[in-house]
Symmetry: C2
Subunit: 210 residues, 2 copies
DNA sequence: CTAGAATCTAGTCACCGTCTAGACGTCGTT
DNA sequence: AACGACGTCTAGACGGTGACTAGATTCTAG
């Protein structure tokens, strides 16, 4: 099933080459026929492993989420004060997103965002790690709603920072500053305050005391 | 030059149809030949107005930035307390980005991010409006560096929020909450504090008074 | 060892973007 | 008014692509 056959392990080779091609050419430039050529097989061979182009892209996205999850976990494994850990997680997020811009596009593409399937599962796993990180970083069990909002705010900021870097609107260095600023802003916010000192009610309470 | 000829105004029609097709099918599904078919011209006709597919996409991106800029300006035109204005700008940002997800991809694609050309210029115009908004919202002249960081943090967060909605990781309603949270977090941050209470120069009255 | 399933080849199809030659309509110049 | 240049459009061709199919080949399970 997973083991070599005629070619060896075409599936794995295709995925590897596809990721390289993705990095160099973007997802538009990713051609099944070119992939087959590089692997030294006929143009129809990939079809035995991926029913169509989208299936290949989905597999890449799934793989991408898994690696993304690993990176996040690794960043969280380093101990330190809350702020430093948040920053580290943020940098890991942005670094991965920038180094794998085209992959990230696939991962977060609407097409892959079906409400089921392996890609969705891999994405869920990632967001669970992020969720755990919010508990972990604060060192306290939190109200679900608050934690979710905090998590989303964090994810959104990092995603956006990466987008700005990828779009060359800012440099990588500016991006790092942004990540640090974001971590600080998050911790200084009402949500962040509740991370370490629970309670207080939502919505319209001004975060900025006059 | 810009006026009707054989067809009428093919260029404008193509752009219109392209935008619709973009919204429905994404940029991958945007076909020049299909566009020509819908416009009732031969498959080679578009070439007279757009040298290649990328030129069409660039034109769309430019147009997109202009409309994006208009939306931002409109949101800023409504008076109100600082926080409300920031939220309004944020909602305008996210709304546009979600309603025009595929367009936004084009606008922020690396291909369009050349350091010159009409697309770049349109993008610059947009970011200048954003920059002006930061001054406008605070009602005070600020240190350039601080303002830029604040602006970028804002843009990144909104961009990311939109990305999460587009990827269906969160609902539009959650997105609105996110925008509000983000505005609050920004204003509560050190950067935000400096926005409303500049270190040296209080300038005019900080417009914060809910 | 054999039958069936997985894998791969080779050919075909429709579609695409791009390029070219040439027809057509418009406009500025003489 | 005539004409030549230019912008616009048509029609055909080329190479490339993803998808589908039939059939050969090879592995593997029984």
């Amino acid at each position: 099933m997973k083991r070599p056959f005629h070619h060896g392990n075409l599936r794995a080779v295709l995925l590897d080459q596809a990721e390289a091609m993705l990095r160099e050419q973007g997802s538009d430039g990713l051609s099944l026929r070119e992939l087959a050529r590089q692997a030294g097989v006929s143009h129809g061979a990939p079809r035995s492993h991926f029913i169509d182009r989208q299936a290949l892209l989905d597999a890449l996205a799934e793989q991408g989420f898994d690696r993304f999850t690993d990176r996040a976990r690794a960043a969280l494994a380093v101990p330190g004060p809350v702020r430093e850990r948040l920053r580290a997680l943020g940098r890991a997020y942005v670094d991965f997103a920038v180094d794998n811009a085209a992959l990230m596009e696939l991962m977060f593409a609407a097409k892959s965002s079906q409400s089921s399937g392996p890609v969705h599962d891999a994405a869920m796993r990632f967001f669970q790690v992020l969720d755990g990180a919010m508990v972990d970083v604060s060192g306290a069990a939190l109200d679900d709603g608050v934690r979710t909002r905090f998590k989303l705010l964090f994810a959104a900021t990092m995603q956006g920072t990466a987008a700005l870097i990828t779009a060359r609107r800012i440099t990588r260095e500016q991006g790092e500053t942004l990540v640090d600023d974001a971590a600080d802003a998050l911790l200084a916010s009402e949500l962040g305050a509740r991370l370490t000192a629970p309670r207080g009610e939502p919505a319209d309470a001004p975060a900025l005391s006059p």
